[in-house]
Amino acid sequence: MLVPILKQGDYLIASIQSELSDADLLKLRDDLVRRVSEFRSHGVIVDVTVLDVMDSFATRTLRSMAHMIMLRGAETVIVGIQPEVAFSMVQLGLKLEGVNTALDLEEGLALLNEKIKGDSRRG
């Protein structure tokens, strides 16, 4: 399943459209990391609203993706984790440590704006 990646100014927005296999998730990670470099993006939003399973593999892949993007100097926000999925992740013992999360796309964008404005003031 292809995940469309939208470029919006300095940001990239990936909206997952259906359940993803492990291979699809790895492809999404690689595509996003590549495009962050290509477009010199400052922020990435991954919308996982439609995912009804976030198992150890998905969590590990999203975490490594956020880390790779961070090494390119950009921020990642995961948005739309469903309440049932959040509950299951906690039961399983999964942590999205070091990864920004927000309720939805709007809040994700607000978080990125905040973070990236904060960063440019420092420079």
Binding site: D22, A23, V53, R60, G93, L94
Partner: protein
């Protein structure tokens, strides 16, 4: 056992199929939305272990009826290398696959009952059950 459904497992694509089938059966049994997610996630973990460590095997699903209760039983079976130390494998963070080591202990927490039988050189069978909660 007319209700039994088995899904052959030999590649990562089968992980998605297995958890969808599990979700479908659990949904028919009347599990809550939260439980559907927990069951699908537990299936995902045990089926991924088959693909990762045993290469192939099968996942079987069946309906449970017991004294007015209903539930689902999930059996993940393979003839892979087996697990030398089950106690160790059931610990959070123990992995031989450079992963998180959460699949087995996590799946146990997601389900109501969990049993693992494994023999080195013979294979591994994980049996998990979850019961529908009757509210009221």
């Amino acid at each position: 056992m007319a209700d039994e459904v088995c899904i052959p497992v030999s590649s990562e694509i089968d992980i998605v199929t297995a958890r969808q089938k599990g979700r479908e059966m659990a949904s028919r049994l009347g599990f809550s939305n939260t439980d559907l997610v927990l069951i699908a996630t537990a299936i995902s973990e045990v089926v991924r272990n088959i693909v990762e460590y045993a290469k192939k095997g099968e996942l079987c699903l069946n309906i449970l009826q017991e004294g007015g209760k209903s539930g689902i039983v999930v059996i993940a079976r393979d003839k892979g290398p087996g697990i030398p130390n089950i106690k160790l494998a059931m610990q959070d963070g123990y992995t031989t696959g450079h992963s998180l080591g959460l699949g087995l202990p996590g799946a146990k927490r997601l389900m109501d009952e969990f049993e693992i039988i494994s023999e080195v050189g013979k294979g591994t069978t994980v049996t998990m059950k979850k019961w529908v909660q009757n509210n009221g």
